[in-house]
């Protein structure tokens, strides 16, 4: 028989153990609720169970649990065009309100008039110039505010909702699940680092220091207006393809234990992660859900997924089928 004293002693022991383990008392939470039961979810959970199990040969200590996520097409949508390109176009229209000359100069004229034929021939060089025009010549503080205001007010052209409505619910859950398992989660994106920082903390819970992105060279200014760091027109790093792996080395200095992407631009990041000594997990999101989102891969101009899909299949990386693996796409 258990008497009251014994019961109290047991209760105290449980509580003390719980306190000593430095964790709050909690009923085990359920994670990944928007993921259908299937190969992708099963691989994710068994990987995480294995690397957090101290008795497993795959065990990885918390400090080494680094996960890197691409942003466009991985954490949020990227159709019908990269959201940051829409930001650039909106910004050109805004600047034209105080600068009539833009309405007469290409490619600004085409942007303002919505001349898609002209814009489709712009090429990456032309687009880079428009990025530089809208993204430089101010301090980082000013730029982040401009981005922030746009994110708060602009609406997706097709759905008339803020762009931050188009983050993927299953990915938010994956971020939570990894963090619950003591991962440090980074974004490693082709988007501009300060553009992403303008919303990453609020929307993804990812702080500024865990965002790696495309950057311009900076210039430290100390004048009668005070201290600021200005954005020059010289590109410091275009964080795509090889450069994603290079910048992970520069900023993090470790190979990611988990890497998550959706396009050929993420291939080298996934390869870098897969070259880690010991266990690692590579996830590739396949946009194959024309009904609930978009379906595109090998022939797409945006988020082209061709070589990375072949390599994922041949190396048995985990391909996430948006259609089959996700019970929900966007938060309500």
């Amino acid at each position: 028989m258990i008497n009251k004293k014994m019961l109290m002693a047991i209760l105290l022991t449980v509580l003390l153990n719980s306190c000593q383990s430095n964790k709050p008392i909690s009923i085990e939470k359920e994670f990944l609720l928007s993921w259908n039961d299937g190969a992708a979810k099963q691989r994710i959970t068994s990987f995480v169970n294995s690397i957090t199990d101290q008795t497993s040969s795959n065990y990885v200590p918390p400090g080494e649990r680094i996960a890197t996520f691409d942003n466009d097409g991985t954490l949020w949508a990227e159709q019908p065009m990269y959201f940051q390109v829409q930001f650039v176009f909106d910004r050109v229209k805004e600047l034209a309100e105080n600068d009539e000359s833009l309405k007469k100069r290409q490619p600004y004229k085409a942007i303002i008039e919505g001349d898609n034929e002209y814009l489709s021939k712009l090429g990456s060089h032309g687009l880079t110039d428009v990025f530089t025009f809208t993204h430089t010549g101010m301090s980082n503080t000013e730029f982040r505010e401009i981005a922030s205001t746009w994110l708060d007010t602009a609406k997706h052209p097709k759905f008339n909702k803020p762009y931050t409505s188009f983050v993927y619910k299953p990915m938010l859950e994956l971020l939570d699940y990894l963090r619950e398992n003591e991962f440090k989660v980074y974004i490693c994106s082709g988007g501009s680092v300060e553009f992403i920082r303008a919303f990453a903390d609020e929307v993804y819970g990812i702080p500024p220091e865990q965002v790696i992105g495309t950057s311009y060279k900076y210039e430290f200014i100390n004048n009668d207006k005070g201290i600021s760091i200005n954005r020059t027109t010289e590109i410091n790093s275009f964080n795509d393809k090889q450069e994603k792996a290079n910048n992970i080395q520069l900023h993090i200095g470790r190979k990611p234990l988990v890497a998550v992407g959706n396009s050929d631009g993420d291939l080298q990041m996934l390869q870098f992660s897969a070259s880690r000594t010991g266990s690692s997990l590579q996830l590739l999101l396949h946009h194959n859900d024309a009904e609930r989102e978009w379906a595109y891969d090998r022939e797409s101009k945006i988020g082209r997924l061709d070589k990375a899909l072949d390599e994922a299949v041949s190396r048995d990386w985990t391909v996430i089928s948006m259609q089959k693996d996700w019970a929900a796409i966007f938060p309500k």
Copy 2:
């Protein structure tokens, strides 16, 4: 009278509260034990008490508690020459064992022969070339291993002890004190990022992803030997002066709440921190202890402290007097 039941109820309440606050039960630890009571210690503790006090107008939430530390002359010694320069010299001698031609070519000949007169005229350009010669042309993994081996085996010429013996005990305590108060602590150094990563985790408890330093441009390699990231001979960033602030913006994206340095190379980092909206703390270590360490400032070739000392005095930043504020310099 308190009976057993009541006592048990009180005990349970205390334990439950402790568990819910997600902190282990602990007796308050003593910090900064190698710091003498004086203005520097007093300012540090009152600053930390104020920004961690939720009822204070200076309160700063944990996520924003970023501290950046210079390394050479701030976290460890830098005399009679920067330790990484000694590493470069030792490396040249090692490479000369398999490459006789180095013994005939300047400046390698001077390094091998210890021709200090020649070396004193080398200038920063000449030194940069020797750095590049010893620091590039291999993968980052290989370089970190080379640095690691040197740190494990090389001895300081004056004291015949490993270089990592010359970390400052009061600074190790300051790192611990800040981390205990939920700071995220970074190194921001003119030294090479991968050189510092070779010992920062073990010696300072600072993980690779919290080290910002001088870097070469990287090149992603995928060949029959596998994946690696090679160090090219092109400098990516020389992390000194203005560039320290620029790189803090790039890597962290926030102004440091606490910045700690010892030389004019740290001035812009301190200015950047001081420009933070709300409270912030700037610490400048003054090497004025010829008996226990070294005494040098305005005229020194290594770790020159001139403009930053003037600005610290005029802006009432906290100058740490090694002689007066530190009860101990190095760990036993």
